[in-house]
Assembly symmetry: C2
């Protein structure tokens, strides 16, 4: 079970905060998150692994894709602090931009787009 310090470490990277904020809006597959974040797929996979090990997110298979979503029952510590953190992230320019894009992202268009 994750200690507060583990959760705080998971939250100490802005890319991971962006992921959590995206997942607040809707579940996303790895290639969608990759596209939105502008990082390599393997990097995103690594970040997702950190968040998953801290019990903050969950994965769920859907055909060819693996959808990630916020954990329905994250550690109590996270449950308490996340709403506050989330609210303070809202005005951030990057977060606002992410939010705008995440609504219209379509995995069929961006994945395997060569």
């Amino acid at each position: 079970m994750s200690e507060p310090i583990d959760v705080l470490k998971a939250l100490s990277d802005f890319g991971r905060l962006r992921i959590l904020k995206m997942l607040e809006i809707k579940s996303l597959c790895v290639c969608e998150i990759t596209e939105l974040l502008g990082l390599a797929t393997s990097t995103v996979s690594s970040h997702l692994n950190v968040l998953k090990n801290a019990d903050l997110i969950q994965d769920e298979k859907e055909g060819k894709w693996i959808n990630y979503k916020l954990a329905p029952a994250p550690p109590p510590f996270f449950q308490e602090i996340w709403p506050l953190i989330s609210r303070h992230l809202d005005p951030n320019r990057q977060i606002l931009e992410d939010r705008k894009k995440v609504g219209s992202v379509d995995r069929h268009k961006i994945c395997a787009a060569v």
Copy 2:
């Protein structure tokens, strides 16, 4: 002014969390914190600098010593999340041990003790 991510980064090291929890009890000089943490003086000084740059603590000269204490007016983001974090740290073994020791620490005995 410090962004949420800066505060979260400052809070992502357990030694720094220990320092903040100690300062909740009382102001301490660097050599006292050094003794309690069991790290090199220069390392502690570096951690204190991180906390100070995030506007979480303040220093105050007192004769030969420099006392550190929690900032009276830290960033609003920190003001909101710290009470929750603090409470979740309370049961931690190391934090409990620190608390026990911090009450009886005496700078005249531990500093320059050769």
